[in-house]
């Protein structure tokens, strides 16, 4: 029980002994061994080494999360590694296959455009109304550069989304790590006053892109607004319109992924542009895990608000004991709270009821999926770097 005079710090309150932490990490260790067993049996030494390093990395991070009861900084290490290594592996593969990061029209016509999860919300209405997938890729394995099809990606996305909701944006997205890494560089934000109306932009982008995709029969976001084209693959510009498209991609990447995170210490692309993130927010309603503010413990100090990378906490939401639906469950507010007022929570239970147990349950689900999905991407990026080095 919290008395007014002395407040337990969360790390003091919940730090675990090493043997107990090892015991709690065992399931993730076994899962990692299972997930990377394919890498271990690869003939190429770089794949083996990358698999071992990645498996160890994921297990150590989980152990540290269990041992210290901090979530954010350990998750961030994984997430930044994912964000930085995804382009390494992807661009290398693209260059080997095509000799260029630009995707030519012939590849699109052949249905070999690699698919990521960002256009998923834009595919739903055309599929429902016309039974047509408005993306120049393949549904089944065999299409796409990596050999995986849209069905595999959509399946992974759906499985993760049902369980962790918008936690996808903190444990699986292979784009957000770049800006999270950059946002962590400065000690203090230079730009602190941000108009909260900017939070509406992702919803507007989602609405506009869904409608334009339906009208134009193309994934409009990929064609016009995706900043991450700058670090994955872009339109092979063969006319001025292609140049305009690429100009938009590069400008958005430079502004929202590089410059603004440095100035604001926020994930500005995620918070103020990404339509997939807005779409993903809807699934926070279906996920059983959320973050709550225990109003009895909270003495509004705004530390959680300052720490939140997506402005998902407001004075009003804190007063109501909740985060906004855009919460990515990254754990920043929980780790920042000196009074243990921000807590992990399982829907249908009391807010103050065993938040550490709720945290562990969430982390098992999120980390198992992060290891499977993000871990394989990290391993691929590492293998590429080792391939260059060895």
């Amino acid at each position: 029980m919290v008395t007014g005079a002395k407040i337990e710090h969360p790390t003091q309150a919940a730090a675990r002994s090493t043997p107990r932490s090892i015991l709690l990490t065992l399931p993730i260790l076994l899962w990692s061994l299972l997930m990377f067993s394919r890498s271990f049996s690869q003939p190429a030494p770089e794949s083996k080494i990358a698999g071992v390093i990645t498996a160890g990395f994921m297990v150590v991070l989980f152990f540290m999360m269990v041992k210290t009861s901090d979530t954010y900084r350990w998750r961030r290490s994984f997430f930044v590694a994912l964000g930085l290594l995804f382009p390494v592996g992807f661009i290398h593969e693209v260059m080997v296959m095509r000799g260029s990061m630009g995707i030519p029209i012939e590849e699109m016509i052949a249905g070999r455009t690699p698919f990521c999860y960002l256009p998923i919300p834009m595919l739903i209405l055309p599929a429902a109304l016309y039974k047509t997938v408005v993306f120049p890729g393949s549904i089944l394995p065999g299409g796409g550069m990596s050999g995986g099809g849209m069905a595999a990606m959509a399946g992974i996305w759906l499985a993760m989304t049902i369980v962790i909701g918008k936690g996808w944006c903190s444990y699986a997205c292979f784009f957000g790590g770049i800006e999270e890494g950059i946002a962590s560089v400065p000690k203090r934000a230079k730009l602190r006053k941000i108009n909260p109306r900017w939070r509406y932009v992702p919803w507007a982008v989602l609405l506009a892109m869904v409608l334009l995709s339906l009208a134009l029969f193309e994934p409009a976001y990929c064609m016009w607004l995706c900043p991450f084209k700058a670090v994955s693959e872009y339109v092979a510009a063969r006319n001025p319109v292609g140049l305009i498209q690429n100009g938009i991609f590069i400008t958005l990447f430079a502004g929202l992924v590089l410059v603004l995170p440095l100035l604001t210490k926020k994930r500005t692309q995620c918070a103020f542009l990404c339509p997939f993130g807005a779409f993903q927010s809807l699934f926070n309603k279906t996920s059983v895990f959320d973050v709550k503010i225990d109003r009895e413990r909270c003495k509004p100090c705004s530390l959680c608000q300052t720490a939140c990378p997506t402005m998902s906490l407001t004075t009003e939401s804190i007063a109501q004991g909740e985060t906004l639906m855009s919460c990515m469950k990254c754990g920043a507010c929980i780790d920042a709270c000196p009074r243990d007022a921000a807590v992990w929570h399982i829907k249908g239970t009391e807010v103050s009821m065993k938040p550490e147990r709720a945290r562990l349950m969430f982390l098992y689900a999120a980390w198992a999926m992060a290891t499977m999905f993000g871990g394989s991407i990290i391993a691929q990026g590492l293998a590429t770097m080792l391939h260059w080095a060895l």
Binding site: L129, R197, A215, L216, E218, A220, A237, P240, V241
Partner: protein, 227 residues
């Protein structure tokens, strides 16, 4: 005995209606980027939304009929010189972009004055303002969408202005049935978030149409992979 010309007329109207009905989803898809955000940018209420839809669809019909007149009088739009078509579509898209931005701006302004009583109006002086839905409906009516082309080609074969007008009217009724569910938007509660998102979406869509208009006028294909 049934008059053969009356029967032919009925068949023609039936054909136009069926074409409109079958093309409805494509019509909704084409008008969606304009209709849905502008409908959301209005205040809530079934009556107000019904008034918006009637205004939008009515002026869309007017746009259709203007187009039908051109089809009947000048000949099939598709046989017009390409440069004229590109000029017309480029200008229509630019106008659409301007009206969308204007509408988004007027929506935020009119809310201060007296929300919930009238449709969002655009224009200069107060007396000259017209509902934004009128302009948007008309511009979506005259801009070519795929089902519209299908109806236009068929209407052009009829050979008379009157027949083309009737054909388009029946086509309009058939396709408009698909817009009835949009009345449900009147039940969506409007708060600052919904109104702001709708207006922002209108500006984004306007940017797209603006770019489309400029590239058409500049003679470039906007679906930009071919030179």
């Amino acid at each position: 005995m049934v008059n053969s010309s009356a029967m032919a007329g009925s068949l023609l109207l039936g054909e136009a209606f069926a074409l409109g009905l079958a093309s409805g989803p494509a019509c909704v898809a084409s008008c969606g980027p304009v209709l849905i955000p502008s409908l959301l940018a209005e205040r809530a209420g079934l009556r107000l939304n019904a008034r918006f839809l009637v205004t939008f669809l009515g002026t869309r019909l007017l746009g259709y009929l203007v187009f039908a007149f051109m089809v009947g009088e000048v000949g099939a739009m598709t046989s017009l010189p390409q440069s004229f078509r590109e000029l017309a579509f480029g200008v229509v898209h630019l106008l659409l972009a301007i009206v969308l931005v204007w509408y988004a701006y007027s929506g935020s302004r009119s809310c201060v004055a007296g929300c919930g009583k009238a449709l969002v109006r655009i224009g200069g002086a107060a007396k000259r303002e017209i509902p934004g839905a009128m302009m948007l409906g008309f511009l979506t009516g005259v801009s070519l969408c795929p089902p519209f082309v299908a109806a236009g080609v068929r209407a052009a074969e009829l050979g008379s202005v009157a027949a083309a007008l009737f054909f388009f009217a029946a086509f309009f009724v058939g396709s408009s049935l698909w817009f009835v569910p949009f009345l449900g938007f009147g039940c969506i509660r409007r708060n600052e978030a919904v109104l702001t998102v709708a207006r922002m979406a209108m500006v984004l869509i306007a940017l797209y149409y603006g770019l489309l208009g400029v590239t058409i006028l500049a003679g470039r294909k906007v679906y930009g992979y071919w030179g």
